[in-house]
C-alpha cells in the first residue's frame, strides 16, 4: 500500500466518459507506488496552474549517449525541496519496437514486470516516433531497468541529434498493398546506424520511416528525413472475377463518381471490353460480360486510390520497389517541409536490393553529417543548398519525377549545359 493520494479534483474529471482513462490507470498504479501518488499530485498541479513543471538534465546508461529523456521536477518549496518528492525524477526510456509493432504477450508481460519493478509502471505504446516509452524512472533505476530490457533482446531508441527510432507499417505481414518487405528494410537500416542512434553526433535528428505503398500509413512523407514508400513500375494487376463482384455490388454510379472521377490523372476509362487497347502499358479489369475498366498505366501516378476502392480487383504490379523521399520534418525553423522525391524507383525484390538501400541511406547520412548546420534538418539543408547540390553530393541522377514543375525563374547558372546534355545523351545511348 502506498501513501495517501493527493486530492486531484481536476484529474478526477478525466475518469468519466467512455474512452479508456489514463488517470484511472495512474490511480491503479498509485495504489502500490508512492512514486505515482506524487506523479498524480504533480500533474494535478499542472492542471490547476496550467503550466508544466519538468526540466531536462543528463541521465543515461553505460555505453550509450542517448535514449533516456530525463525529467526533474521544478515544483519546489521555498527551501528548494521538491513538493512531490517521490516523483522528483521522472525519466523516460525509449526502446525500439519490433518492425510493424508486433508482439507476443510474453514479451509485453516481461516489459510490464521490469517496469513495475524499476519504474512507475506507466508504458506508452507507442511514442510518435514509434518507441516503446517506459515512462517514469529515477536516475538510480534507469541502468537496472535498461540492463534487463537489453537482456530481453531489445535495444535503446534514439534521442537528441541522432538517427532516431524508425517505424514500418504492418505491410507485407497483412496488407495486399505492400510493395516491399518493410520489416526487412527497417531492420537492415536500423542495424546499419546503431552507432548513430546510440551516440548522438549528427547535426540534428534524422528519421527513417517505411510505408509499403502510397497510402503511407506511417505518415512517412511528412515526418521522415528519409521516407521509403512502396510502389511498382509495371502495370496494375487485375482480377476479373473480383472486378465483376465489385461492380455487381457497387454499380455504375459509384464506379464513375468514386473511382474514375477521383483518379488524379484521368488514367481510368470505361470501355466496351472489345475496345480495350492492346498496348503494353494498358491493363483492364472486367466489370460485367461486356464492359471493362481500362487503365493507362503510363498516366497512372500510383496514388493507390482505385486500388483502395476496388481492393483485390486491382492490385499492385509485379515489378515492385519503392520511391525514396528526403526532407520531411516539422516546422522548425523554416516551416514544415515534406519529403521530396530523390529516387523515383528502387527495386526491392532481392537481398542485394536491400543492401543497396542501406548503402544509399549511409550516403545520405554521411552527406547530412558533413553538410548540415547545427540543428538543421535535411529538409532545411536541402532548401538551403538546393536539391541538385544534394543529389550530386549523394551521387543520384536528376529525374523529371523529382519536380512538380521545372524552374519558373531564370535565376540559374547554366555554363555546364552542353556537358550535361552530352552526359545524358551518352547514358541514353548506353541504355539503348
Amino acid at each position: 500500500m502506498a501513501k495517501q493520494p493527493h486530492a486531484t479534483p481536476m484529474l478526477d474529471q478525466l475518469e468519466t466518459g467512455p474512452w479508456p482513462s489514463f488517470v484511472t490507470g495512474l490511480k491503479r498504479l498509485a495504489k502500490d507506488k508512492d512514486y505515482v501518488v506524487d506523479l498524480l499530485g504533480h500533474l494535478e498541479h499542472s492542471y490547476t496552474t496550467r503550466k508544466g513543471y519538468w526540466k531536462g538534465g543528463t541521465v543515461g546508461v553505460f555505453g550509450y549517449g542517448g535514449g533516456v529523456i530525463p525529467r526533474f521536477t521544478e515544483i519546489k518549496n521555498e527551501k528548494g525541496e521538491p513538493t512531490f518528492k517521490d516523483a522528483a525524477e521522472f525519466h523516460t526510456i525509449r526502446i525500439m519496437p519490433p518492425p510493424g509493432m508486433h508482439y507476443d504477450t510474453d514479451t509485453l508481460r516481461k516489459f510490464c514486470d521490469i517496469w513495475e519493478k524499476h519504474g512507475s509502471g506507466l508504458i506508452a505504446l507507442h511514442g510518435q516516433s514509434g518507441d516503446i516509452m517506459l515512462q517514469g524512472c529515477t536516475t538510480e533505476n534507469v541502468q537496472k531497468a535498461w540492463d534487463e530490457i537489453n537482456e530481453m533482446g531489445f535495444d535503446m531508441g534514439g534521442a537528441g541529434p541522432a538517427v532516431r527510432t524508425a517505424m514500418s507499417c504492418v505491410g507485407a505481414a497483412r496488407c495486399e498493398q505492400s510493395c516491399y518487405d518493410e520489416a526487412q528494410a527497417h531492420q537492415k537500416i536500423v542495424n546499419q546506424f546503431l552507432d548513430d542512434i546510440h551516440r548522438p553526433a549528427l547535426p540534428y535528428k534524422f528519421k527513417f520511416k517505411f510505408s509499403g505503398c502510397g497510402n503511407d500509413c506511417m505518415n512517412a512523407i511528412q515526418r521522415a528525413d528519409m521516407a521509403v514508400i512502396g510502389t511498382w513500375r509495371d502495370n496494375i494487376k487485375t482480377d476479373d472475377a473480383l472486378g465483376k463482384k465489385w461492380f455487381a455490388k457497387h454499380g455504375m454510379n459509384e464506379l464513375v463518381n468514386d473511382v474514375i472521377g477521383m483518379c488524379p490523372t484521368r488514367a481510368l476509362q470505361i470501355k466496351d471490353t472489345k475496345d480495350v487497347r492492346k498496348d503494353a502499358h494498358v491493363s483492364a479489369v472486367a466489370l460485367n460480360d461486356s464492359q471493362s475498366l481500362e487503365i493507362d498505366n503510363k498516366d497512372c501516378v500510383r496514388c493507390m486510390h482505385c486500388l483502395n476502392v476496388m481492393t483485390g480487383a486491382l492490385n499492385v504490379g509485379n515489378d515492385k520497389g519503392a520511391t525514396i523521399l528526403v526532407g520531411g520534418h516539422s516546422h522548425l525553423k523554416i516551416g514544415a517541409t515534406m519529403g521530396t522525391v530523390v529516387v523515383p524507383f528502387i527495386s526491392l525484390k532481392k537481398d542485394e536490393d536491400y543492401e543497396q538501400l542501406v548503402e544509399l541511406a549511409q550516403t545520405m547520412i554521411d552527406f547530412f553529417a558533413e553538410n548540415a548546420l547545427e540543428h538543421e534538418r535535411t529538409g532545411e539543408m536541402i532548401e538551403r543548398i538546393g536539391l541538385v547540390n544534394f543529389l550530386e553530393g549523394v551521387g543520384l541522377e536528376v529525374d523529371a519525377n523529382m519536380v512538380t514543375n521545372p524552374r519558373m525563374n531564370p535565376y540559374v547558372r547554366t555554363d555546364g549545359w552542353d556537358e550535361e546534355v552530352a552526359k545524358i545523351n551518352a547514358k541514353k545511348k548506353a541504355a539503348a
Binding site: P18, W19, P20, F22, G25, L26, L29, L43, Y47, R50, K51, G52, W54, K55, F62, G63, M96, P98, M101, H102, Y103, C112, I123, L125, H126, Q128, Q135, G153, D155, V170, A172, A173, S178, A183, Q184, Q187, V190, L194, N215, D216, C217, N219, A220, I221, Q222, R223, D258, M262, C263, R302, T311, G312, N315, H331, K333, I334, G335, A336, M338, E374
Partner: protein, 357 residues
C-alpha cells in the same frame, strides 16, 4: 572511465519474425484483398486462400501495467497470444477463426476497450506528452486526447464519415503530433518573459539566438549580467527559444491559446499530401476538458460528414467546395491571421480570378 561493474549493451535491432501471428508469417507478402465485416474488424484474404480477422480496439496509449496485462490476457484467450499496435496506439488482435470475432469484441468492450477505428471512422488521436512528461508543454496531451475521444466515441465505433478521419493534438507549437485532418495545437500569443537571473547559467546564448526563426533575439547586458533581449515587434511567439533556454518563459496559463488546423493529409491517394491549415485560434486552455476546443472540432467534423462525397478526405472536400464555403459551413470567422506571410507565402495566395460567391 568505464566503470568495470557496468554491463556493456548489446547493440542489435531485432527482426519481427518471432512476434508475427502464425498466419501473418505464413502469408507474408502474399495477401490478395480485404474487407471490413463491421467497424473495428478487418478481414484479409491471402492468395493461398488463408484468412485472418483483425479486431482493433482503442487504448489510452499511456497505459499502466495492469491495463497491458489485461490486454495480454485477452490475447492469450482469443488470439494465439499475439497482438500488434497501430501507429495510432490502437491494439489489434489477429484471429484465425471468424467465430472468435464476436466473443473477442464482447470481451474487449466489457473491459472498456472500444472496438472501432477502422475504415471511415474517426481513429484515435495522435498523442504527445504534455504536462505529464515534456519539459516545454503549454498544455496537456493525454487529458486532451481523453476528452476529445469521449466526445468522438461514437465516431470511433462507427464508420459513418466520408473517409477516414485522423486527428492529432500537440502541446506546443513544435507539433510532435503531426499533420492531421484536424489538429489541435498550442498557439502562444505573447513573447517570452525572460528570467534574466538564470540566462547566464542555463542558456547557450549563441544557440538560442540562432534558433529564433525571425532573428528577434539578441544578446544584451541586463543588470550588468549577460542576458538576452527580445524584439517584441518581430517576435512571433513561436516558443522555439524556450527549449534551448528555459528562462525564456513562453508558456502562460492565459495567453497560451489553442488553435485548430484542418486538411493535413499524408496519404497520396487521389490528391498529393498536404499540410494542415489554420482555421481557428484563440481558444482557451481550459483544463481538464477543453470544451471550447471540442465544440469546434465537432462542428468541423459534422460539416464534413454532412457535405463531403464518399472517399473525400477533409482536404479533398475543402478543395472542392473552396475555403470561403468551408468557413461558411463551419460558421468560423476567417481572420487576417490565416493569411500566410511566411516564406513562400505567395504560393498560398489566390493568384487567379477563381473566386466563389
Amino acid at each position: 572511465m568505464a566503470q568495470p561493474q557496468m554491463r556493456k549493451p548489446v547493440e542489435y535491432f531485432l527482426d519481427n519474425k518471432k512476434y508475427l501471428h502464425p498466419k501473418f508469417a505464413a502469408n507474408y507478402g502474399n495477401w490478395k484483398t480485404h474487407d471490413r465485416p463491421r467497424p473495428g474488424v478487418l478481414h484479409h484474404i491471402s492468395n493461398t486462400g488463408d484468412q485472418v480477422w483483425s479486431v482493433r480496439a482503442g487504448t489510452q496509449r499511456q497505459m499502466d501495467v495492469h491495463t497491458i496485462r489485461l490486454l495480454c490476457d485477452i490475447a492469450d484467450k482469443f488470439a494465439e497470444g499475439r497482438v500488434r499496435f497501430t501507429i495510432r496506439s490502437n491494439i489489434e488482435y489477429i484471429l484465425s477463426e471468424e467465430s472468435k470475432v464476436a466473443p473477442l469484441i464482447a470481451e474487449l468492450e466489457k473491459n472498456g476497450f472500444p472496438v472501432g477505428g477502422t475504415g471511415n471512422s474517426v481513429s484515435m488521436v495522435a498523442h504527445t506528452q504534455g504536462w505529464l512528461h515534456c519539459d516545454i508543454p503549454g498544455t496537456d496531451a493525454s487529458g486532451v486526447v481523453k476528452s476529445m475521444m469521449d466526445v468522438l466515441y461514437d465516431e470511433f465505433k462507427n464508420e459513418d464519415m466520408p473517409n477516414r478521419v485522423r486527428l492529432s493534438t500537440s502541446c506546443c507549437e513544435i507539433n510532435c503530433g503531426g499533420q492531421a485532418d484536424i489538429a489541435v495545437i498550442i498557439q502562444h500569443t505573447k513573447p517570452p518573459k525572460i528570467n534574466h537571473d538564470l540566462v547566464a547559467n542555463v542558456c547557450e546564448r549563441p544557440a538560442v539566438v540562432a534558433r529564433c526563426p525571425v532573428a528577434a533575439i539578441r544578446p544584451a547586458l541586463v543588470n550588468g549580467k549577460p542576458s538576452l533581449e527580445v524584439d517584441e515587434k518581430k517576435c512571433i511567439c513561436c516558443g522555439a527559444c524556450y527549449p534551448p533556454c528555459p528562462p525564456m518563459q513562453i508558456n502562460d496559463p492565459e495567453h497560451s491559446k489553442l488553435a485548430i488546423w484542418v486538411g493535413g493529409k499524408n496519404s497520396n491517394a487521389r490528391s498529393k499530401p498536404t499540410f494542415h491549415k489554420m482555421v481557428a485560434s484563440g481558444l482557451p486552455n481550459n483544463a481538464p476538458r477543453w470544451p471550447e476546443v471540442n465544440e469546434v472540432v465537432k462542428r468541423i467534423l459534422m460539416a464534413y460528414k454532412a457535405d463531403a462525397r464518399p472517399w473525400e478526405r477533409m482536404a479533398d472536400w475543402i478543395d472542392r467546395i473552396g475555403w470561403p464555403r468551408f468557413f461558411e459551413k463551419t460558421d468560423l470567422p476567417f481572420t487576417k491571421y490565416m493569411i500566410d506571410d511566411w516564406r513562400g507565402s505567395r504560393y498560398n495566395l489566390n493568384a487567379s480570378a477563381h473566386v466563389r460567391f
